[in-house]
């Protein structure tokens, strides 16, 4: 099996390795395994915090990274939000500037300049994971329209207080285009066939308002061990729309698969992440 990881060192301390997608090593000639992951990192010390790409594999021997014109390991990093700011603002309204004899008031400047900048540097950003809530995913032969929700009991970041741990549901604070990433971590049985992660969206924009899961696609699983599937999507949402993390797995003996819990730094865990991208 091979894991993608994000290695994070804060304040020049030791590295923590956050586990992402975990899939079987190819073993098939001419094919490559390429697990992926995404993670919010909160930088606390300018000039000292570090982020790196890492991987872990359990083949029992060494594996070479594939480097070619069309395939190679890579990391992408972008700033998404300030560490602190003002939540609850409206999306920059872009009101027309007053023309004489009207005057430019402080209220106008605060709404169209101050609050607009504050919104853009502190947009809705969220991440939560399943640290300790025990749960199992039943085997299913086909994908359901709306998947089994995965409980997420611990919040890593939630700048606009949009997540409810009791229901493991994230609610879009404002309308817009959101980057959404989900990973489901399961201990698959001895007769496991495949698994997938999904984003269950409840929005008037999709499926006539009824909940529907956007799946990441089924991936072959390593039997009798942990596997992690992921889903990534930019989803347009209205304020008030909701997203839950979902999981699916198929076992030829119809066995259930327990959800792997924990902080995600010594083994995989299930995680949901959303970032406001655009109006």
């Amino acid at each position: 099996m091979v894991n993608a990881q994000v290695a994070v060192s804060l304040a020049a301390g030791s590295y923590s390795y956050y586990y992402g997608q975990r899939i079987p090593v190819s073993g098939t000639g001419g094919q490559f395994s390429m697990p992926v992951t995404a993670k919010l990192v909160k930088s606390v010390t300018t000039g000292f915090d570090q982020v790196s790409l890492a991987a872990r594999q359990t083949s029992g021997g060494s594996l070479s990274a594939l480097i070619s014109a069309s395939k190679l390991p890579y990391m992408q990093l972008k700033w998404v939000s300030a560490a602190a700011g003002t939540a609850g603002l409206i999306i920059p309204p872009s009101d027309p500037w007053p023309a004489p004899p009207a005057i430019v008031t402080s209220a106008f400047l605060n709404r169209n300049v101050r609050d607009a900048v504050q919104f853009l540097i502190y947009p809705p950003v969220f991440e939560a994971y399943d640290n300790a809530t025990a749960q199992s995913i039943a085997s299913a032969t086909t994908f359901p329209l709306a998947g089994v929700p995965v409980s997420l009991d611990t919040t890593f970041a939630d700048t606009w207080a949009a997540f409810g741990t009791a229901s493991s549901t994230w609610t879009a604070p404002v309308s817009g285009l959101y980057y959404c990433y989900g990973q489901a971590a399961l201990t698959c049985g001895a007769n496991s066939l495949s698994m997938a992660a999904g984003l269950t969206v409840t929005s008037p924009l999709y499926n006539a308002g009824a909940a529907v899961t956007i799946w990441g696609g089924a991936q072959n699983t390593g039997t009798g061990q942990g596997n992690v599937a992921v889903v990534r999507k930019r989803v347009r949402l209205l304020g008030g729309d909701t997203i839950q993390l979902a999981a699916w797995q198929r076992d030829s003996s119809a066995a259930s698969a327990p959800v792997i819990t924990g902080p995600g730094t010594s083994a995989s865990t299930s995680r949901l992440l959303t970032i406001w991208v655009a109006q």
Binding site: K78, V113, A116, A218, Q279
Partner: protein, 197 residues
């Protein structure tokens, strides 16, 4: 003698400064903002503040983007995914058809994500993209199983020259397969979002 006013910058959308209204884009189609300058002694008018403040902040909020997906199944092994439904393309940069592509309207860095789904074939499946007809770049490669939808996603940060460079959604599989088209749950797609100049 009153200070000279510098010539007003031509406003996008026409000399009158009025931008065409585009659904979802309250300010219409904005270009990446330039850096304003504030000459001493210059007396600004409301239109100047629109140029200096409103449009730059509006661009940062609106972003240039694309979302498109496939609703008609396609059979292929490797090559271009035909995405027949455009969910949003406010800058009109998408060219439909067998060789569908999205051309960057302005120069900058773009985040491009391609997802591909297969129907129940036991294949290796990778989501890919090609920039301006260049080498296909593979992302996530998944060993899909028989009987269930396989899926893979690739995300890349791509630098593109406006009006010249374009990105094409592609895939690379170990054998011929038919794409899954369950909308919106399991259908091939491409998303593009402007990141930075």
């Amino acid at each position: 003698m009153p200070p000279r006013r510098p010539p007003r910058r031509a406003a996008p959308g026409g000399p009158g400064g009025a931008l065409p209204k585009t659904p979802g884009l309250p300010l219409g189609l904005l270009a990446p903002p330039g850096i304003p300058s504030f000459p001493a002694g210059y007396g600004p008018v409301p239109g100047d503040f629109t140029t200096w403040v409103t449009w730059p902040l509006g661009f940062c909020a609106q972003k240039i983007c694309l979302r498109a997906h496939q609703s008609v199944a396609q059979t292929l092994t490797s090559g271009t995914l035909t995405l027949d439904v455009v969910d949003e393309d406010p800058y009109g940069a998408w060219a439909a058809g067998a060789g569908n592509k999205w051309t960057a309207p302005y120069t900058g860095w773009y985040e491009v994500t391609v997802a591909v789904y297969s129907t129940g074939a036991a294949i290796w499946l990778a989501a890919s993209m090609s920039v301006t007809g260049g080498t296909r770049f593979d992302g996530d490669n998944v060993n899909a199983t028989t009987g269930n939808t396989g899926g893979a996603t690739a995300t890349q940060y791509v630098a593109m020259i406006g009006g010249l460079d374009y990105v094409t959604p592609q895939c690379n599989a170990s054998a011929s397969f038919t794409t899954e088209v369950v909308v919106p749950g399991r259908c091939s797609s491409m998303e593009v979002v402007f990141l930075s100049e």
